[in-house]
Symmetry: C2
Subunit: 213 residues, 2 copies
Amino acid sequence: MVLTEGGWMDISEPISKSTIVWPGDPQAIITQVASFDIGDNYQLSEAFLNLHTGTHVDAPLHFIKEGKDVSQIRLETMMGEAKVLDASALTVISADWLMTKNLRKGDRLLFKTMKDNDIRQEKLSQMNFIALDVDAAYYLTELGIVLAGIDGLSIAKAEELNETHQVLLKNEIVIVEVLNLTGIQEGNYEMICLPIKIEGAEAAPARVLLRQL
Amino acid sequence: MVLTEGGWMDISEPISKSTIVWPGDPQAIITQVASFDIGDNYQLSEAFLNLHTGTHVDAPLHFIKEGKDVSQIRLETMMGEAKVLDASALTVISADWLMTKNLRKGDRLLFKTMKDNDIRQEKLSQMNFIALDVDAAYYLTELGIVLAGIDGLSIAKAEELNETHQVLLKNEIVIVEVLNLTGIQEGNYEMICLPIKIEGAEAAPARVLLRQL
């Protein structure tokens, strides 16, 4: 399995002014401070963005006061084998459902909650999205998984947002949100997930790739 | 060479309010809009940053009007074998010097311009930094390399900034700037360079890793 063989699929949600963010959070603003259109011979841009915009990693510090920030997450936790689980037929990802999936300590799990023919922007705007409930978070913690990713806005049901995040992050399970798993089937993959290295931040935008095992 | 074997070294410059940027560009601002310190039970941050802050990738659009933006760069160009060349004893990286290095079409080159005992913040603040001159850029273009990275603020000498960038980017050579190559010796490595996927942008912050071949 040589890196240079390629075959990587990009499962990152692009960042632009129209990227859907959590209700109430500001959308990204990208400003061209130099541009060919106004006679400059180069383009130069500045960005304003909530750090949870597009595909991003939540570090423990998001909900744990003395938790690690996003620049302190071990690279090994975010790189290696990952299992994509198709949860798109569910209403919630429960501990009971997870128990049928033969999961193991050290697993990296990516939950696919949208069907390939769903209109993604519409799904991302609805608050009744499919996500982990608190019991599922406790189950994954006891099991000892190391990373939980999802294609929706949040790993946690909206009505249990704080508790589910707290349970996962207290146990240093890395959370990856707003993946784009369109066209990715349930199965085992190799993953690279690299957030940019913002010191002291509870989260950061990330580029995430998958490759068939 | 299995990804999960680990051994990756992080050569990314962290982003914070004190990250040194090009003279005249604004430094990054990271704002906590929710924080444990003010009684919230979570932390939530927003960032304002020039897209050339910390380790970043320059896409053709930086200097080429109809050039590809950073979200359109092929992943394969930024992942695979890379050669670190120690240029720290030079005053400029010239075509003549490059000709002695047995370079080949398809190479990814990372130029180390700082010595391991240099004070990095000081070096990043000086405008007489070591970088490619225009002739070197033409030579690399004719050779057909695909990526040129450097540990300084710019791949190009300050006095030839525009022309050198134009030569490289017109030929779709991916530029990576502000790497941190402290402790990395000249030699051959495997590299992963992943900029975040900002649509329409001429550049984006990136996480960059090296591993011994």
